[in-house]
């Protein structure tokens, strides 16, 4: 049997490795498309607050894929003496940074838009020369917003299935963010159209709506990543519901012939799920120390085989166990909405 290694690198199963490469390609595609969309928006900004906010929101959605690209360079690295747990949490770190930034910028934009609304600032939108024609800049704005909207929808549609397969919260959040972009761009289009019809408030009202969307997005993600950093039990993708995986591992451990009782304490490390499995050997099993160690090693291997995400599980034999944990105060079964 291979010796237990203190620092084992997390490996994606063969069939999912192509998905990992897909994330890299999708992230690059996102960055390129979002930069093109942001450039288009930038050239048609004018003095519209809605455009400014939509532009910032567009630039912001380009940051998570960049952060993910950076984090993914680290994620599958071999553990080192300094980081014996490996680098799987690099994605959580990237996530925390982008989500907090998102919330803060959203708050600033909301303040900015509401001030303009309260001060009754009328947005001036002049003309632009396109291919020798003089055109109201508002129409060019609607055009670039529409392009940006399509980019978001397409990226979201491409990312969602990959996130599902890899159980990647970061990619899932990105897909959601890309898909939610249509609301921002749609709101900005409505805002510009309102301005076209002479309703000046349409611009800053749309901007305020977009800012709220940015804040909501950021807050949702901050909350999720805080859960990760607090060693929350594994949760379902894109939801707050707890996963069944810890129970599945516990039940499998209880089914082992030499185990009388078992309990788990699992947490998520990026794509991986790791933690401890406590087992109480049957008193009648009559195992000596060597047999017990062999049995525990075998159990580790067997339990890790239950799900590709399980990695670095530690099986700890104990003499007695209180295996149930009460749900959090105010929750019935951890399945709080």
């Amino acid at each position: 049997m291979a010796p237990m290694s203190v620092g084992q690198p997390f490996r994606l199963p063969e069939e999912l490795r192509s998905e990992h490469g897909k994330i890299t390609r999708l992230s690059w595609l996102s960055v390129v498309l979002l930069v093109v969309a942001a450039t288009l928006l930038f050239f048609t900004l004018g003095q519209s607050q809605a455009m400014k906010t939509a532009w910032v929101s567009d630039v912001l959605t380009a940051i998570p894929p960049i952060a993910l690209l950076v984090a993914m360079r680290y994620e599958l690295r071999e553990p080192s003496k300094r980081f014996p747990n490996g680098y799987s949490r690099a994605v959580s770190v990237a996530f925390l940074v982008t989500a907090s930034m998102l919330s803060l910028i959203g708050l600033y934009l909301l303040y900015d838009s509401l001030t303009k609304l309260i001060r009754r600032e009328h947005p001036p939108i002049g003309t632009i020369e396109l291919f020798g024609h003089q055109l109201w800049l508002g129409w060019a704005m609607v055009g670039s917003l529409f392009f940006s909207m399509c980019v978001g929808i397409v990226l979201g549609k491409l990312k969602a299935p990959v996130a599902e397969k890899l159980h990647s919260k970061a990619v899932q959040a990105e897909a959601e963010m890309n898909q939610a972009e249509w609301m921002s761009e749609g709101a900005a289009i409505v805002g510009i159209l309102l301005v076209a019809f002479g309703f000046w408030w349409g611009d800053s009202a749309a901007a305020a709506f977009i800012s709220v969307e940015i804040i909501r997005d950021g807050w949702h993600n901050v909350r999720q990543v805080i859960g990760d950093l607090m060693d929350e039990s594994p949760t379902k993708l894109g939801k707050r519901d707890l996963e069944e995986l810890p129970e599945k591992v516990r039940d499998a451990a209880r089914r082992l012939p030499w185990v009388a009782d078992a309990g788990t304490r699992l947490r998520e490390h990026g794509h991986a799920v790791t933690g401890e499995v406590f087992v109480v050997p049957r008193s009648g099993a009559g195992m000596d120390a060597a047999q017990l160690v062999r049995a525990a090693d075998g159990a580790t291997k067997e339990l890790e085989g239950l799900d590709w995400r399980l990695h670095g599980i530690v099986v700890v034999p104990v003499s007695a166990l209180e295996s149930s944990i009460p749900p959090r105060v105010g929750e019935t079964d951890g399945a709080q909405r």
């Binding site: 003095q47 600032e121 009328h122 947005p123 001036p124 939108i125 002049g126 003309t127 020369e129 003089q134 109201w136 508002g138 129409w139 159209l193 301005v195 076209a196 019809f197 002479g198 309703f199 000046w200």
Partner: protein
């Protein structure tokens, strides 16, 4: 998919409506047409010069052409940039001329048109490009579009006018 169709339909309807858009929240263009155009002037030779009746100078011709094309009579207000632009921001004036450039510190408070002429000056031995614009009431977009259309049409007249003045 049906939402996409609805969107296409909406865009088609909008495209036909686009001819009369954008509109002014305060109806400046409609009011000026056949009525009175309230123009603020800040003296800045050669762009705006002082004269017996209203302004003179290069930007006077812009006001003249606008008034003629819209059948409006001009009501002149002479003053400092600060006062006039504040009045423009509050839409108590329709247009302010005063040799403003695109980098004017007032550009966020009022609506500067697209530059109509780029002047080259020497500042401390360095060539400096100064794109000149006029200021219109902010958010009166039909009005701004109308003024910018006129400026674009007059584009070729400005260099000669500028050269008529000594540097």
């Amino acid at each position: 998919m049906s939402s996409t169709h609805r969107l296409t339909l909406l865009l088609a309807v909008l495209a036909t409506a686009a001819c009369n858009l954008p509109r002014d929240p305060d109806g400046t263009l409609d009011r000026v047409r056949g009525g009175t155009m309230r123009v603020g002037m800040v003296v800045d030779t050669p762009w705006v010069t002082d004269s017996a009746e209203g302004a003179g100078g290069i930007e006077r011709t812009i006001v003249n052409d606008l008034a003629r094309e819209l059948g409006a009579k001009v009501e002149w207000h002479k003053g400092t940039a600060e006062h006039l632009l504040e009045a423009l921001h509050d839409r108590d004036l329709d247009l302010v001329i005063g040799g403003f450039t695109a980098s004017s510190p007032w550009k966020q408070q009022v609506a500067l048109t697209k530059p109509y002429y780029t002047d080259t000056t020497m500042v401390r031995g360095k060539r400096k490009e100064e794109p000149h614009a006029v200021a219109v009431a902010p958010g009166e977009n039909a009005w701004q579009v109308r003024v910018e259309q006129l400026l674009r049409g007059k584009k070729n007249e400005f260099p000669a006018m500028r050269h008529a003045w000594p540097r």
